[in-house]
């Protein structure tokens, strides 16, 4: 039995290395995705154009503006006109926020218990607007801290942000991207390799030989486990070295759990190959059935907790959801196996169900 599996795995391996073009795509596509996501998927906003209407024109007001200028988020432009021009500034996108400092600012800042400045934000993109608002609050808070002449605040909150102190987006998406690439590549490759044999008629030639269905499947899937694993490692290393993503936990644990996830992805690919009969349909189905749910429903980008309840339930069926919990936990927090036992169990259950279904359908197709 071992020899026949080896014969099939060897043949599959030869298919892979003879097809240099696909091999390049298999390794180049994830790298390209990593770089695209890495530089484009940045949730921080920088260089916000801030228009300043300073009617106070005092050292105090300039200090406030300088405080804004000193943060990397804003680029300041002094406006000479009246605040009535703000509308056109927003419309022409010359400014995304405007700060209006009243002419009594310096006096009130010294004497009155409170003083106000007005902040206007372009909320055509509400997410960006709330970021801008938060940045402004931060700047103003720091200004109050250092320059307030009145007594200090009765208490203050000292924030410490754990696991990702600089709030870098790369920490968040590199692990997610590894999940996406692993499931996409493995499901795609397995579903194609089996439908290709069906389409070419070579499957029949194998089935008249004494090879057992499970030997065919194991033999065919083995080289792809290796390939997808190498792909995952490549992304992991690039993430660590290009985007400085930390690796706190045990690499052995991550490898073990990654292999479980690979099995889930491969079983999914197998299941697809038992349903469809052409390579083209297999490709479309495996891409759309892995890419969309993984991007939308796994917590890769959007937090699952803020989804409608029905989508939250649906997300339990998305294997990447568990793996993202696992890989973020191991890489960023240094989680142990016991802390990740639930997602790991769920992955095993999903794998078992899909594999059983795939094998059952595979045998059924033979008897037809």
């Amino acid at each position: 039995m071992r020899k026949r599996i080896v014969a099939i795995a060897r043949k599959e391996f030869l298919h892979i290395i003879h097809d240099v073009r696909s091999l390049v795509i298999i390794f180049a596509m994830p790298v390209l995705m990593l770089i695209l996501f890495g530089y484009a998927l940045n949730l921080e906003i920088q260089n916000i154009n801030l228009s300043v209407f300073d009617f106070s024109r005092t050292p105090a007001s300039r200090k406030l503006v300088n405080q804004f200028a000193a943060s990397k988020y804003f680029s300041i432009r002094y406006e000479k006109g009246t605040p009535s021009t703000i509308d056109s500034l927003f419309l022409s996108k010359e400014a995304r926020a405007a700060l209006i400092i009243d002419k009594n600012f310096a006096r009130d800042f010294r004497n009155a218990p409170t003083t106000t400045v007005q902040l206007l934000v372009d909320a055509a993109d509400p997410n960006a607007a709330s970021f801008i608002k938060n940045y402004c609050n931060g700047v103003i808070g720091r200004f109050n801290d250092t320059h307030s002449t009145t007594f200090p605040l009765p208490f203050e909150i000292k924030q410490r942000i754990w696991y990702n102190p600089d709030m870098k987006s790369a920490y968040f998406f590199v692990p997610g991207l590894i999940a996406l690439i692993l499931i996409m590549i493995s499901a795609l490759l397995t579903s194609i390799t089996i439908t290709r044999e069906k389409e070419m008629g070579t499957m029949e030639q194998i089935l008249v030989s004494p090879v057992q269905p499970n030997e065919i499947i194991i033999g065919k899937v083995l080289p792809y486990i290796l390939l997808a694993f190498l792909d995952g490692m490549l992304i992991l290393l690039l993430g660590i070295f290009i985007f400085d993503v930390p690796f706190e936990g045990s690499s052995l644990l991550l490898i073990l759990l990654s292999i479980i996830f690979l099995m889930t992805a491969l079983s999914f690919g197998l299941m697809i190959s038992t349903i469809v009969s052409t390579q083209q349909v297999a490709m479309m189905l495996s891409l759309s059935a892995t890419l969309l749910p993984t991007v939308m429903l796994s917590g890769f980008i959007f937090p699952i907790n803020s989804m409608p309840v029905i989508l939250q339930y649906l997300s339990y069926l998305v294997p990447a959801k568990y793996y993202i919990t696992i890989i973020r936990g191991v890489m960023l927090k240094g989680n142990t196996l016991w802390q990740l036992i639930f997602p790991a169990m769920f992955l095993l259950i999903l794998t078992a169900v899909m594999l059983r279904n795939a094998l059952h359908r595979f045998n059924l197709n033979l008897e037809k």
């Binding site: 080896v6 014969a7 099939i8 060897r10 298919h15 008629g201 070579t202 029949e204 030639q205 008897e367």
Partner: protein, 247 residues
């Protein structure tokens, strides 16, 4: 080279797909060393018949043995004892000739030394020694087909099933393919072949003609021509398929 041993025997073998009956109670006996032809129009049930005998398809009813093994219960033993080649040449175009041969040796569990020895013999027979490391897609169709036959025979099975092995090949290549089949038969192998080329039918030791899933004529080509008073198999076939009774 016929002997008096039975290679394949079927009795009332039937296969239905839903309401459609692809093969209706087929009863044939094929002796060891015989070249047995299955003739019929497209969809007459030839391929279904072969697929049942190869263990690719379970019969709906009836009995059949291949090399003495029962098709229902002993399909594993049958698989070790048969070679199969279908109309689509079952070679991998993107693998080299040598890799294709080694793969077929591998899935039949042959020892590595046996595979390498038989590969050398096969390459020599086909005159392809210097092409062994070329991709199979570069081979002309006639060569591919003979290579596919060689792969199907690599594990030295006593019975060989050929499902329209020559479709899409030019007459010259067909001729040389049939020479190969004769050679194989002389080595004592039983050959079960489906075709719709009438000139090929003449080469068979015995023929059965199928129409709508039923075997409607059976016998050596000369005998069939005599009974139907026709000079070629072509005419015999047309008269039988059109439902004319022997004159």
């Amino acid at each position: 080279m016929k002997t008096d041993q039975i290679a394949v025997q079927t009795e009332d073998l039937t296969r239905r797909f839903g309401k459609f009956t692809a093969v209706k109670s087929a009863t044939v006996t094929v002796m060891e060393g015989e070249i047995f032809g299955f003739l019929g129009a497209n969809g007459a049930g030839k391929t279904t018949m072969i697929r049942m005998l190869c263990g690719l398809l379970k019969p709906s009813s009836g009995r059949a043995t291949v090399s003495g093994f029962d098709v229902y219960r002993q399909s594993e033993q049958i698989k070790q004892n048969i070679g199969y080649m279908s109309q689509k040449f079952s070679l991998y175009d993107d693998l080299t000739i040598s890799e294709n041969i080694e793969f077929y040796g591998g899935i039949y569990n042959l020892p590595v030394e046996t595979i390498l020895r038989r590969k050398e013999n096969l390459l020599q027979e086909l005159g392809l020694q210097s092409e062994a490391e070329k991709l199979t897609r570069e081979l002309p169709l006639g060569y591919k087909q003979r290579l596919a036959l060689g792969c199907a025979l690599l594990h030295d099975p006593p019975i060989l099933f050929l499902d329209e092995p020559t479709s899409g090949v030019d007459p010259k290549a067909r001729r040389s393919f049939w020479n190969l089949i004769y050679l194989t038969s002389q080595k004592g192998k039983t050959i079960f072949v489906t075709t719709h080329f009438m000139d090929e039918a003449e080469y068979c030791h015995r023929l059965s003609i199928m129409r709508d899933g039923e075997i409607i004529a059976l016998g050596p080509p000369a005998k069939l021509k005599e009974t139907h008073k026709k000079s070629s198999m072509q005419e015999v076939f047309i008269s039988i398929v059109n439902g004319e009774l022997p004159a």
